[in-house]
Subunit: 323 residues, 2 copies
């Protein structure tokens, strides 16, 4: 089994690579090689098989051909311009997130000779736009309110049609907000959902820009890597031609996040969270989904945390080494 | 008001042009010019204003720039490779129906100088794929089972995002099956829905390839032209960012179609319909939507027939000249 991870230098790509290194198998077969591809050289991953690291820009037309020519058995397409940047730079977002996946699928199709990889595309809950029902059902329509969301929804449609025609065997996974993200805060509007847990656990102050009544949809990095691993081995005949799946997650409020942090790490740690309202962030967050049914994905064996305590423990276990 | 109709040589484009010629106004303003564009020269339309006819291929990259440079106030984008052909010729379908609309939107955006036309895109109920609820609600997801349906769903997402960003003021109308289509039978699997009415009314035999229990979703050519006219003047602020609309229509069975034909034209005429089962057509039709709620579009003032007798009378009135 040869596995190509496009966007292999990112947080999720690295988590998947390390999981495969630990399992040494994917979709019921031994892994022989992982190819990590990203726009800057991906970090090395220690593994009992070959790990190849490639650098390139999927916005370049020739790059798709180069990647398809690798004839990987499983292609993970995680590379994307993130939501905020795609909103600020319309051309860049559409070039990478729109034309990028289209060119990649065309290049895979052009390989020919019966090549038909399992193709796992990471979509996003950003395909949905408010107003929402309390829990968004699996058959709810995609009405994105960002270019990023529109680009992901188009990627899903392309993966669906190229799969139906037999050029790939694909599926699209709409990921929850990944929490607790390791590393530093970033400028994403969602950054605080991880920050209010991560920073206090590291003895640092965190800013909470929204009221603690805000509800959101989460999965840990470990569960997210688990979705991608599970997708590689799924019997896609079970999808009935509906190849985009909302992944399971945990719907909880900021107050519930903080209560779980208190239980895991104590009252003093939660005192490091400072409420500093930010109307702009509050407005953005108000347009985001809060809760999903995700029954289809659960029935297909995808699993996530059911309690925010577990999500914190995953962070402590994987990133801090105490638990 | 200058109006560009891309696909202006087709049946719907011509109906819209003749309706505008009769009204001499659109969206509350006088029409000064209609520009009909198609891949072969569109038929002439007599009108109390200028009617310009252009020929070109929207699959050619330069054609989008040429069309955008016309700076029409209202752009109707009706041009498409039809469902069956897009399914047989994957490249042609994606080039015209996918890249075609994208290039057109990019060309409009590139005009600059505050140019922001009303952009009306004809989508299709082919964005939906079985299985369906009894009546498909407005918030039902798009899971197309044809390349044509995927291309239309992508067009909707592009129209949505280019509108949200202020490059156009667009909306997408998902048209019902247009019935009774004038002219000759074609090779579309849906051709018989019109054929079983049109051919008998013209004294000719018609083949019915499916059982008369089959239910489908119809609007007359007159109502369809009416949707397009109404869309030109609609206050798009009322769409709340959800710019794709399932148009109203009439859900009825083939038996109800035939009963209405009997009422309008007599028993002898219906005897010209011969049942000759075709398993292939029956299988295709089984995957099609049968009924919609379409509440949003009705609330926004779009209107269609509520009885198949009316649909037959529109054909008799517009095409046969007796009624």
């Amino acid at each position: 089994m040869r596995v190509l991870i496009i966007g292999g230098g990112g947080m999720i790509g690295q988590k998947v690579a390390r999981r495969l290194a630990a399992d040494a198998a994917l979709a019921g077969a031994p892994v022989e090689e992982i190819i990590l591809h990203d726009i800057v050289e991906p970090p090395a991953v220690a593994a009992p098989f070959a790990v190849t690291r490639l650098t390139g820009d999927i916005a370049e037309p020739a790059e798709a051909t180069r990647l398809a020519a690798l004839r990987a058995d499983i292609v993970y397409h995680l590379a994307a311009i993130v939501s905020g940047e795609a909103e600020r730079d319309f051309d860049k977002g559409w070039t990478v997130n729109g034309h990028g996946i289209w060119r990649l699928l065309e290049a895979v199709r052009a390989v020919g000779g019966g090549y038909r990889p399992r193709f796992v595309f990471t979509s996003s809950i950003a395909v949905f736009g408010a107003p929402f029902p309390d829990a968004i059902p699996d058959d709810f329509f995609a009405t994105p309110l960002t270019s990023y969301g529109a680009q992901k929804a188009i990627g899903e449609l392309l993966v669906g049609d190229y799969s139906r025609k037999g050029f790939i065997d694909g599926l699209s996974l709409r990921l929850p907000t990944v929490c607790v993200r390791p590393g530093r805060p970033n400028r994403a509007a969602s950054s605080f959902f991880s920050g209010i847990i991560r920073e206090p656990l590291n003895g640092q102050e965190a800013i909470l820009p929204v009221p603690d009544t805000v509800r959101h949809w989460f999965a840990s990095p470990r569960s997210t890597a688990g979705f991608l691993v599970h997708a590689a081995g799924l019997d896609t005949a079970r999808l009935g031609g509906r190849r985009a799946l909302t992944m399971p997650g945990l719907s909880c409020t900021v107050a519930e996040q903080i209560a779980a942090l208190r239980d895991v790490a104590g009252e003093d740690v939660t005192r490091l969270i400072r409420f500093e309202p930010d109307a702009e962030i509050a407005a953005i967050v108000a347009g985001w989904p809060r809760n999903f049914d995700a029954a289809r994905a659960r029935e297909l064996g995808f699993a996530a945390e059911s309690d925010f305590h577990e999500i914190i423990r995953v962070y402590v276990d994987e990133e801090l080494g105490w638990s």
